[in-house]
Symmetry: C2
């Protein structure tokens, strides 16, 4: 009898972080593709754009000005999704029992920030120097520390979600290198689901899920993309997006503010290497959403013990600079589905140059 | 003290179907928008396109031909995500204990189908006649019955996910009116989570979640978009996508094959009305993914009692024919976020014409 072939036969893989499944259909990657392929050239983008509200010295829509910054620059989002001050919900207002159990609602307070990675409009993370990226890591650290301090002084801050949306495919219309950070007075769903999974795994198996995970990936090697003293980068076994990756610290480090200088540099380096590989894959400025999962402010005992720094990268491209994966119909109604295995994606990323960006060779 | 304003203050709402939360930031809809707006004209699309593999009489990439069909036409997907035959996974192969608990995997078998709604290349659902849409409902029913019969004869079929991806924004490159149906030997995650939620609600409250839901929405009215004898359409309290809707049968009907002729017509009518409103909203062929949740094949007792026909519509547009909502950075890392309330979206949809399509007025 024939043997199951993971590179050809359909299967589902379980994501123990989010307690969910992904359908893997590797043979689908073999079907003909009729979409056209754009030729890519060297983009011609100025270092300073007078119309960019993130360039030093320019005015923003609200009338506020971006100062003449020289490395990184953090400011409050002019159109925040959450605010520091708003009335509380009066729960006694609602008396309908069915409504109370079916329509649950919570007020959410917080604050939103924009983090400019560089004053230079035409850079992206892989094009920045490691030292400059250490500056970005420092900016994230200083934001974490500042907000934790403000929390102690009374601000409603529980979890700081640091992230970057890169590229128009990810809804980012301004290409000036920047990320965001939304700080809520609650742990958001994805993160709280991870804590739940970590807690359960610890209880069942007596160790941290990510500890087992790092050991297993290092042993199997097939999904490892990059490694240095502090971190590994893998395409997780349960990846949904075609070239999804995770950066995990090899040992448990709860939050970015717990890094020493060597660890800061190791993070900056591995982010630069990963994003260089990404750009080299399809010779394009590779779009993605990425972000940091780490320890909440004022952690409970369980949150303290279960926090393990890691970053998720969710990039949409599948076949080329212009052909992306759509997680639509079946994915929305049924279950996420991918067209190549995590191992196939990892192998392609592993074989790409992590040191020289394709634009340097043009 | 000021009172909490649901049309302005940030809050989270709970989705009892999927046991998840959505962050609602209604004030965000008020921010200025710099994206341009395209002007729309009458599209000039032929009724028959020689290059469309779904048009009657044309050849497909595999060499198979689409016959000269006159109403609907169902065929096996030439590039299916799951297949009827493949080897089984030999679970005794895996001996590493950590790997067994961390990397869970299941084989998935099944079959994939394409359903052409009409031979006319230039139609969309809202442009079809109610009778023609009854034909589509009949096609879905006949597919369900055929597969259930084949299951009895040994095919690995458990759940039939019927869906439609419409528009390039939803990854659909062929505008010929068609949907898909993927049949798996397992209940996919989204659906199995709904069954879990229905079961828990029934146990806790002694009635079906959707029974309470329908009553509550009919009582509150603010989220109801359409209603007829058999169905209601609402923007659910916990909607994620800006103009997300759900079509729910007012009474429990387990599956589409349980409808009588009047109910077939009521479904066809309300789908036509809803999609007409959608197209009229931004005067464009409104993109979406939609699909049916209903009773699995060979249901367990719980699945039998908990099955309640409903359809989800997930449309991405937010502000205009060209400005969509991106569920990216914060949404992927933290929690889905929306920019207007379900009530605001429902009001806009409710006020739109459901009988005359905007193209008829051009
Ligand atoms: O089968 P199609 O139309 O080629 O593909 C489309 O629908 C599928 C099911 O929702 C998705 O998996 C694909 O990403 C999408 O492009
Ligand atoms: O804040 P921005 O960049 O305008 O908006 C972008 O990122 C947000 C956070 O991921 C999303 O909610 C928006 O849909 C997206 O367009």
């Amino acid at each position: 009898t024939a043997k199951f072939d993971y590179t050809d036969n359909s299967h589902r893989r379980y994501n123990p972080l989010t307690d969910s499944w992904v359908l893997v259909s590797p043979h689908r990657a073999k079907r003909p593709w009729l979409g056209q392929q754009e030729t890519v050239g060297k983009p011609n983008i100025p270092e300073y754009d007078v119309n960019c509200y993130l360039c030093p010295g320019n005015k923003r829509a609200t009338g506020n000005s971006t100062p003449a910054y020289e490395s990184t620059y953090i400011f409050q989002n002019d159109y925040p999704a959450v605010k520091l001050e708003q009335p509380d919900i009066d729960e006694t207002d609602e008396t309908d029992e069915i409504k109370k159990r079916l329509f649950k609602v919570q007020s959410v307070k917080g604050n939103c920030f924009v983090i400019c990675f560089s004053p230079k409009h035409n850079l992206t993370i892989p094009q920045m120097k490691v030292d400059e990226l250490v500056g970005v890591v420092n900016a994230w650290q200083s934001l974490y520390n500042t907000l934790d301090q403000e929390r102690k002084e009374g601000n409603p801050y529980k979890f700081l979600q640091i992230f970057e949306n890169k590229g128009t495919a990810m809804g980012c219309s301004n290409l000036h290198p920047h990320g965001q950070a939304w700080c809520l007075d609650v742990v958001p769903s994805e993160v709280s689901q991870e804590f739940k999974s970590f807690g359960k795994y610890q209880k069942d198996n007596g160790c941290h899920l990510l500890s087992d995970y790092v050991q297993l990936e290092l042993k199997e090697k097939v999904r490892v993309v990059l490694e240095n003293d502090t971190f590994i980068v893998t395409v997780p076994y349960w990846a949904v997006w075609p070239f999804e990756t995770i950066i995990v610290s090899k040992e448990r480090i709860p939050a970015i503010v717990d890094f020493n200088e060597k660890q800061n540099k190791d993070l900056a380096t591995i982010i630069k290497q990963l994003t260089t590989k990404y750009d080299n894959l399809f010779q394009t400025s590779f779009p993605y959403s990425m972000g940091i999962h780490q320890q909440p402010f004022n952690p409970t005992n369980e949150e303290k013990e279960m926090s393990w720094f890691h970053m998720h990268f969710y990039p949409p491209l599948l076949r080329s600079a212009t052909v992306r994966k759509f997680l639509v119909g079946f994915e929305m109604l049924g279950e996420p589905q991918r067209d190549l295995t995590a191992e196939q994606a990892a192998e392609r990323l592993r074989n790409l140059d992590s040191e020289v960006h394709y634009l340097e060779k043009l």
